[in-house]
Amino acid sequence: MNPMLETTITVNGTRVTRRVEPRTHLVDFLREELGLTGSHTACEHGVCGACTVRVDGEIVRGCLTLAVQANGRAVDTIEGLSDSGEIRDLQAAFHERNALQCGFCTPGVLMTAQELLRTRPAATRDEIRDFMSGNLCRCTGYQSILDAIEAVLIARRQARPA
């Protein structure tokens, strides 16, 4: 058994310190140590995007990041984005357009969509499709997901003072 390592991460604005096994993935740390089960685990090798979280403001795969690598960093999860109101409009658009069926992929999809909305406000529909290509939806709800993201992109663009 390898020694547990003391790890301090600021999760959704709150500093937490735990002793973790080096092999613990960030997403398992969030789910099992902190009870933040909004980030999902599915493929566990970086293909599906269900575990997407932010580290220091940038989206990453929670299953391809070790908790010990996040030591000293800030992590945001879907719970944080939801509670802060940062993605209220995006959530409303997903609701309105039925942009989910079972909802398993939705937290990861929302994390990725918010990164797109923040960093590429001028994205075209094809660019949205490219950007979202790393998040799989097994219910094949892609068209409505793209519709919802595109609607928010346009609404935020119009809301921004020119």
Binding site: M1, N2, P3, L5, E21, P22, R23, H25, D28, E44, H45, G46, G49, T52, V55, E58, I59, V60, R61, C63, L64, T65, L66, V68, Q69, T112, E115, R129, D130, F131, S133, G134, N135
Partner: protein
């Protein structure tokens, strides 16, 4: 799928990292961005006793001018190369290739050096480095050495790197004034592994292509320099006849293995299609 248990060290200096490699030998694995290593740990294809995280070594990070060329630290992330104005100016091939690497969440963590050291045959950076004539900078307790990218890749997932060495940087020569580059890739879905990809570079003078470099990915065990096709187009204007001649020669350069999705014949056909598109773009 969970990784088997391993120890974790985060050295504060290269010297400390070399000492860890010396102590643990083959039992140690270097961790850069982890975007290929961690999946292989999760699937238990690899089970090292110790991960040596290079994350605290600031000297391995960043993009800096080197004369009129570039030096890119091994731990520089794909997303940083994608966004760099210096890269866009001095090695536009890298800026063109970056968006083809996996997805944003992976580009936010994966690194240049990690990709080169792993040497996945479908990866973008190895082919780009060969096309650009880059030097790979390798360090160990014995000192530093440079290896041309063309000599760095040895066989499937095998490189020049010895067990006690660390890839620390890539040096890219200055572009010629007339240099042009194109990166093309065909994948079933954006971000998937390439069926075939092409990193192409040439100088265009008086309507003719010179110093043409055509390097393919996804069609061999290592990046493949298409020497016959390059010779066929060298010094020519890229008109329909010259492009067709280069496409014809490709069968002497490439002997791709088919995979689950794409047969060898289809790969060769797609490589010809990309060659036509790339040469036309270089000549424009």
């Amino acid at each position: 799928m969970k990784a088997s248990s391993f120890g974790y060290a985060r050295p504060a200096s290269l010297a400390e990292a070399f000492a860890l490699l010396a102590r643990h030998g083959e039992g140690a694995k270097l961790l850069a961005g982890g975007q290929s290593l961690i999946p292989s740990l999760n699937m238990r294809l690899a089970a090292p006793e110790l991960l040596v995280d290079l994350g605290a070594l600031g000297e391995l990070e960043g993009i800096a001018p080197l004369g009129q060329g570039l030096r890119i630290g091994a731990r520089t992330r794909h997303c940083e190369i994608e966004r760099s104005a210096l890269v866009a100016e001095r090695a536009p091939l890298l800026a063109q290739a970056a968006p083809h690497i996996a997805h944003v969440a992976i580009r936010n963590r994966g690194t240049l050096g990690g990709s080169l050291a792993l040497a996945d045959p479908a990866a973008e950076w190895p082919a780009c480095c060969v096309a650009l004539g880059a030097q790979i900078v390798i360090a160990s307790a014995r000192g530093e050495r440079r290896v041309a990218a063309e000599q760095f890749f040895k066989a499937l997932y095998a490189t020049e790197l010895a067990a006690d060495e660390i890839l620390v940087a890539v040096e890219i020569p200055p572009p010629a004034p007339q240099a042009r580059s194109v990166f093309l890739e065909l994948a079933r879905r954006r971000g998937d592994y390439a069926m075939v990809g092409l990193a192409a570079q040439a100088n265009r003078t008086d309507g003719q292509l010179r110093d043409v470099r055509l390097v393919f990915l996804g069609v061999g065990a290592i990046p493949v320099l298409a020497r016959h096709a390059m010779a066929a187009i060298e010094g020519k204007a890229a008109d329909a006849a010259a492009i067709a001649a280069a496409q014809h020669e490709l069968s002497k350069d490439l002997s791709p293995n088919g995979d689950l999705y794409t047969s060898a014949e289809a790969k060769l056909h797609l490589a010809r299609v990309l060659t036509g598109r790339a040469l036309a773009a270089l000549a424009r």
